[in-house]
């Protein structure tokens, strides 16, 4: 069965940051210049065409948008100023909505009001918990620690894992990708390696500093998570853990601060266009590191009891981050991109088996 052309999809994508779709006249310069595209995984032109025609199945079944790291070279080369890089970005936002079974990701992308209400509700809930716990430092911090662990479990188990399976269903099962079983196993190493290093982006023209910065944030973020959630940074007296926490917290907040500055300066293609979701992501990532840092300083200076409100703010930031931004916001790109690399690996093995590449 042929796919049905659906011009309304473009209208929908306008809500995901798409600005103009008809500037592209398909010269293919973007694909030619892209250092990540390869036979069997041609982008961004093909994706732009699928978007122009509103071919939902083609878009949903493609891993290509996730293979792009937004170096912006295609946009710089485009003779029509069609901004292919940003087009790919809007497709990624749209795909986040497609994969999400709850529908909340889409809702938050489309409606700023819904997102605002969500943030307010979480804020009220955290203050309500504080009220229930009579604003006692000890009890609150204990609750906070438990809450962090529960949220991680719930978000991964109930939302992100099903979403990834959905992505697998759309890109592999429905596209009838017949990869050999061995590829599923060898691909796992690929997946893990990419989750931590994202070293594919080194091929991009933007160079190694951007990769290094990104790499440090990922490592910093994972370590911060590890330190606070599993080593219980705020409650420990172990000096090594405390100093480790300081270092990674510092890294996260220095580099996210640099990210924010970049988006304000708009000097590079990658930072020129910022969707609200991009701002939320970098600002909350910054706040996360920053508030954690402050709280630990207050603990070490024994001032936390008099400044509990700061811990509550930290808790609010964490709750908003964990409940809203991680499962439904830009944070997911970390996960989807890594799995897209895994699925693309499967696809490539299938194509190789067919002798297509």
């Amino acid at each position: 069965m042929n796919q049905l052309v659906n011009p309304e999809l473009k209208q929908e994508l306008l809500k995901y940051g798409l600005k103009e779709w008809n500037d592209c006249f398909h010269c293919g310069n973007c694909t030619a210049i892209c250092s990540l595209t390869e036979q069997g995984f041609l982008f961004p032109r093909k994706g732009i065409r699928a978007l122009q025609l509103g071919l939902k199945q083609s878009l949903a079944g493609s891993t290509d948008p996730w293979l792009c790291y937004y170096c912006g070279e295609c946009t710089e080369t485009c003779p029509r100023d069609a901004n292919p890089a940003e087009l790919m970005m809007s497709i990624r936002r749209y795909l986040t909505k497609v994969y999400d079974w709850t529908g909340l990701a889409g809702l938050f992308y489309r409606s700023k009001l819904a997102l605002f209400i969500g943030f307010i509700l979480v804020l009220i809930a955290v203050i309500a918990v504080g009220y229930v716990k009579h604003f006692e430092t000890e009890a609150l911090m204990k609750f906070g620690h438990l809450f962090e662990q529960l949220v991680i479990l719930a978000v991964f188990g109930l939302i992100l894992l099903p979403n990834i399976f959905h992505m697998f269903w759309l890109t592999i099962v429905k596209q009838k990708v017949k990869a050999p079983i061995s590829a599923y196993i060898t691909g796992i190493w690929h997946l893990i390696w990419n989750v931590f290093t994202q070293n594919r982006s080194l091929k991009c023209e933007t160079g190694s500093f951007r990769w290094f910065e990104h790499f440090l944030i990922v490592i910093g973020y994972i370590s911060l998570l590890f330190v606070t959630v599993f080593l219980n940074w705020f409650s420990t007296t172990n000096t090594i853990i405390i100093w480790l926490g300081y270092i990674v917290g510092g890294i996260v907040f220095v580099f996210t601060f640099h990210f924010i500055i970049g988006r304000l300066n708009k000097k590079r293609e990658v930072t020129k266009y910022s969707h609200p979701s991009d701002w939320l992501f970098v600002i909350w990532l910054f706040l996360l590191g920053f508030t954690a840092f402050i709280v630990r300083v207050l603990i070490d200076t024994n001032l936390i009891d008099n400044n509990l409100w700061l811990y509550i703010i930290h808790l609010i930031v964490i709750a908003q981050w964990g409940i809203l931004l991680v499962p439904f916001g830009k944070w997911t790109h970390f996960l989807y991109r890594s799995f897209a690399i895994y699925f693309a690996y499967l696809k490539k093995s299938a194509l190789k088996r067919q002798g297509a590449i």
Binding site: N2, Q3, L4, V5, P7, E8, K10, Q11, E20, N22, H26, K46, R49, A50, Q52, L53, G54, L55, S58
Partner: protein, 578 residues
């Protein structure tokens, strides 16, 4: 006869000729020939210095015959005629050898091409020896003009000439004026109302004292020559004799019937309409499906019958922009509808047209590119589970994916083709047709409204599909040409006519039977045939028919051509020996 003193000029035409023909060698070889006084080669003979070279040589060396071997005589013969006149030599003492179009451009071996050039020039030299001076004759011009066709081109030309105070006979085969333009709502790319432009023109033509209008009228064959034509026109049962000096053919074209293209289902699917039918919907202000609903999906298919070897190979020129115009009009009329343009290539040249394309693409119109050669879109009826009428299967070239486009209304941008009676008119006025039955202009670049028959002009879409501005400019150009010749008062006529040698004529009258122009009559008293040199157009058929050789076709006499054959088949060496 005076001793021939021949000047031979071999043109390089930049590298066009010199690349394939060793022009220097050729000109040197030819200099050895008897009677060839001067033989030169030069970069561009047609340029002013090139012509001055000939003029100077004629004056200094007392040349009395000139051969220029360059491009086709159809391009530059007149140029050199003028140069000859400037030098005080009769222009008919001149011959051209075509070593570009018929030699350097069509051959790949330099040696062979050079040999061929030599032999062609030898032929020309041999022919020019026998050329004779011919005196130009001129006749008075009848200041009236016949215009065939009352579309926008015919109307414009009629008004232009009539406003200058000259009489116009305007003949239209239908019962109303305006032609195809009258069926159009708005024009591309600026969306002007056609009615506002056309109606005052029609009104003015009808009431113009200098325009005699014949509606529902057809013309018979026009006899005569530039300045003095006459014909009979038939209106109902009445026959009217008209005399006029010039003719403008503005017969326009018709639209292609897409019923023959099975893929599109025209005639079977009620909501597949042609562009003309859709134009009518626009004029009535009612865009609806056959069932009377507002269409939610409107698809426009380009190139229906155009640019396809099964129908017409040419581009119909106006359909792409008309289709974009439709998209704009549809967007205003049905803001919520989905509009699709399925095109093969977007032809958007001309003032404001690419801009229209860009502007349209910003109005949420989905463009799909199909392969016109062997993968035409296919329209089928949608089954009841869909909430639209039809599905168009298109292999989208830009994605390589075969997709289905939903449609409630499909507009076929049908090709523009020549009238089925284009041939009749062509014969009546003596213009030639190209393979697509459009009329051929005298020169595609330098003389786009005149034809090979002097005094007959082709304007508007009978020459090729055209938009309104182009038709109007052609009409005005032809009018200007005619007014110029009328104001000059007389016109030079063909002097390369036939002439009878009364001493040789036996009075058999065979020539009278073959003459297509009834230019030969029989003088009972002298018992010989006599050629009316005004009516004669110089085809030479009588000359080759005459059993006694009494008729000479001037400029193409037996002597000249036989001599040319001799030259063509000889070699330089042989001639030298002779």
């Amino acid at each position: 006869m005076e001793e021939p003193r021949i000047g031979v000029y071999v043109c390089w035409c930049g590298t066009n000729i010199a690349k394939m023909v060793d022009v220097e060698h050729v000109s040197k070889e030819l200099e050895k020939l008897p009677d060839v006084i001067i033989s030169r080669d030069y970069k561009y003979m047609c340029s002013d210095p090139g012509q001055d070279l000939i003029i100077k040589d004629i004056k200094e060396n007392n040349l009395n015959r000139i051969v220029v071997s360059a491009c086709s005589p159809r391009i530059h013969e007149l140029t050199f005629h003028k140069a000859m006149e400037k030098a005080g030599l009769n222009p008919y003492l001149f011959e051209m050898a075509n070593i570009r179009e018929q030699d350097s451009w069509v051959h790949t071996d330099r040696k062979e091409a050079t040999e061929k050039a030599k032999s062609l020039i030898l032929g020309a030299i041999n022919k020019v020896r026998w050329h004779e001076a011919l005196e130009k004759r001129s006749v008075d011009i009848n200041p009236d003009t016949l215009i065939i066709g009352g579309g926008i081109a015919g109307l414009t030309a009629a008004l232009e000439i009539a406003d200058a105070g000259k009489k116009v006979y305007l003949v239209e085969k239908t019962d109303k004026l305006g032609g195809h333009a009258a069926n159009i709502d708005l024009t591309f790319p600026f969306m002007n109302s056609v009615q506002q432009m056309l109606n005052p023109k029609i009104e003015k033509v009808i009431n113009h004292p200098n325009i005699e209008l014949f509606l529902e009228t057809r013309i018979d064959e026009a006899f005569g020559y530039v300045g003095n034509f006459e014909t009979t026109i038939k209106k109902e049962n009445e026959e009217i004799q008209l005399k006029f000096g010039n003719i403008i053919v503005a017969t326009g074209l018709k639209t292609f019937d897409p019923g023959g293209i099975e893929n599109y289902g025209y005639g079977k699917l009620p909501d597949v309409v042609t562009s003309s039918e859709f134009e009518r919907m626009l004029k009535e202000g009612k865009i609806q499906t056959n069932a009377g609903n507002d269409p939610r999906h409107v698809a426009i298919i380009h190139c229906v019958g155009s640019r396809n070897s099964d129908f017409h190979e040419y581009c119909s020129r106006t359909c792409c922009m008309t289709a974009l115009k439709y998209a704009n009009q549809l967007r205003s009329a049905l803001p919520e509808a989905n509009i699709y343009e399925a095109y093969a290539d977007m032809m958007a040249f001309g003032k404001g047209c690419e801009e229209l394309y860009l502007a349209t693409s910003r109005k949420n119109v989905t463009f799909l590119m199909f392969d016109q050669k062997d993968n035409l879109p296919k329209i089928r009826k949608a089954d009841s589970k869909h909430n639209f009428e039809m599905l168009i299967e298109i292999n989208d070239k830009l994605s390589g994916v075969t997709v289905d486009v939903p449609a409630d209304l499909v507009i076929l941008m049908v090709a523009q083709e020549a009238h089925e009676n284009a041939k009749e008119v062509a014969h009546a006025v003596g213009v030639s047709m190209c393979g697509n039955a459009f009329y051929i202009e005298k020169h595609p670049k330098l003389d786009p409204v005149a034809t090979t028959t002097d005094g007959v002009y082709v304007v508007g879409s009978c020459q090729a599909p055209k938009d309104i501005p182009d038709s109007v400019s052609q009409a005005r150009a032809a009018a200007a040409r005619i007014l110029a010749s009328i104001s000059f008062g007389s016109v030079e006529v063909e002097v390369t006519t036939a002439v009878v040698n009364e001493n040789l004529c036996c009075g058999c009258q065979t020539c009278i039977n073959v003459c297509p122009y009834t230019a030969i009559s029989y003088d009972e008293e002298k018992q010989v045939s006599v050629v009316n040199e005004i009516l004669c157009k110089g085809c030479g058929t009588c000359g080759s028919t005459c059993p006694t050789g009494a008729i000479r076709s001037r400029h193409f006499t037996d002597q000249q051509i036989l001599s040319q054959i001799e030259g063509l088949l000889s070699t330089v060496l042989e001639l030298e020996e002779a």
